[in-house]
Symmetry: C2
Subunit: 213 residues, 2 copies
């Protein structure tokens, strides 16, 4: 709550870029590369090489001037920094179209997360199979979270229920919420929230559509 | 393709923050505020007030020192800069769980976009109703795009089809693709791509879970 000092680099901004670096590095590794540079990474990501070097310098000396980054080493270090060198079990709230799509999403593998539970408030959905998961009743949600020490949740419920479900998640011990509902939720200082908002991405692109070919 | 000069501010980074400013400002307006400051915006967004002032200064003088920003004026200017002071018609490819969720998403209203077409390759989905839309066959995709001058597409197909569908979209005239498939697609320089990747958001949050309460 203290006001920002001018020389503060808000760590959230730097942290928010690390997963992008990790994804680009993983891709370079899969393509058979062993070494990369801040310039190459920058080209992939549309971020300046100076920014990348500065961001990474917060977390130790990853590369030597002129020799580039060892990709495998940097991937391992970033996974460690982001704490995804382990597997977080995730609970998904809402088994509608979106929750089902999340449960089927193949982008989670080897990136630190496993969708382990899917819960819904609708009686007709309870017990249904979504991929490998069975839908649990939302009345079991807090018990699941408490018994398994779950810290991460994805919220795929209608906007009007997002705040009350978030309150229950946090009360049971959730500390990170990825919210798909188009509504801002209020959380205590010790809880992180991120939003999936397709419009933000679309608006970023329409800016560039001005010079029509 | 030219290498970045040190003094270049990559515009993509700044542009990428404008939709976040627009969303926060719209929220402040809805809550009944007429005026805000870079400090207040910064607190909402976790971005330094200096960064916000610098970003906005690229697009003209929006606020006077000490008097803050007129929210309604700044919203209108940002909508103009991002070119969302009009309505872009969007085609969604893939009418599975994800495509259906997108078609039902209520976050598009008054933000510059309208989902106008939903297409799918599966014969059994053709003609089905998803919200207000009927599913069209993917064989009509390029005709729809060409006849209506569509520039914006959302890609909600399985990863293995993402590249070939993207190629067809671009061939027909699409210039901005929001890709939900967990795969990087290759596009020409005059086409923009953004990715919805929930793992990037989750990884940003797990960093902060280190100091367990």
């Amino acid at each position: 709550m203290a006001s920002l000092k001018l020389n503060d680099i808000p760590p959230d901004i730097v942290i928010g870029r690390l997963p992008l670096y990790l994804r680009a590095l993983t891709r370079l590794k899969q393509e058979g590369n062993d070494v990369t540079s801040s310039h190459e990474l920058g080209r992939h990501l549309g971020i300046s090489s100076a920014q990348i070097r500065k961001d990474l310098s917060h977390f130790g000396g990853f590369g030597k001037q002129g020799t580039g980054y060892q990709i495998e080493y940097l991937v391992a270090k970033l996974e460690q920094v982001l704490q995804v060198d382990r597997e977080w079990l995730v609970i998904v709230v809402g088994a509608g179209n979106l929750g089902s799509a999340i449960a089927h999403y193949r982008g989670f593998a080897d990136r630190g997360f496993r969708i382990a539970w899917l819960v819904d408030a609708s009686a007709e959905k309870i017990g249904q199979k979504v991929g490998d998961l069975s839908v649990h009743p939302i009345s079991d949600m807090q018990t699941i979270i408490r018994q398994n020490g779950v810290k991460v949740a994805m919220l795929a419920v209608p906007a009007e229920h997002a705040q009350s479900v978030a309150d229950q998640l946090i009360d049971a011990g959730i500390r990170a919420i990825l919210n798909y509902a188009p509504i801002t939720i209020k959380v205590p200082d010790n809880v992180k929230v991120q939003y999936i908002d397709p419009v933000v991405h679309l608006q970023t692109m329409t800016y560039f559509l001005r010079s029509e070919d």
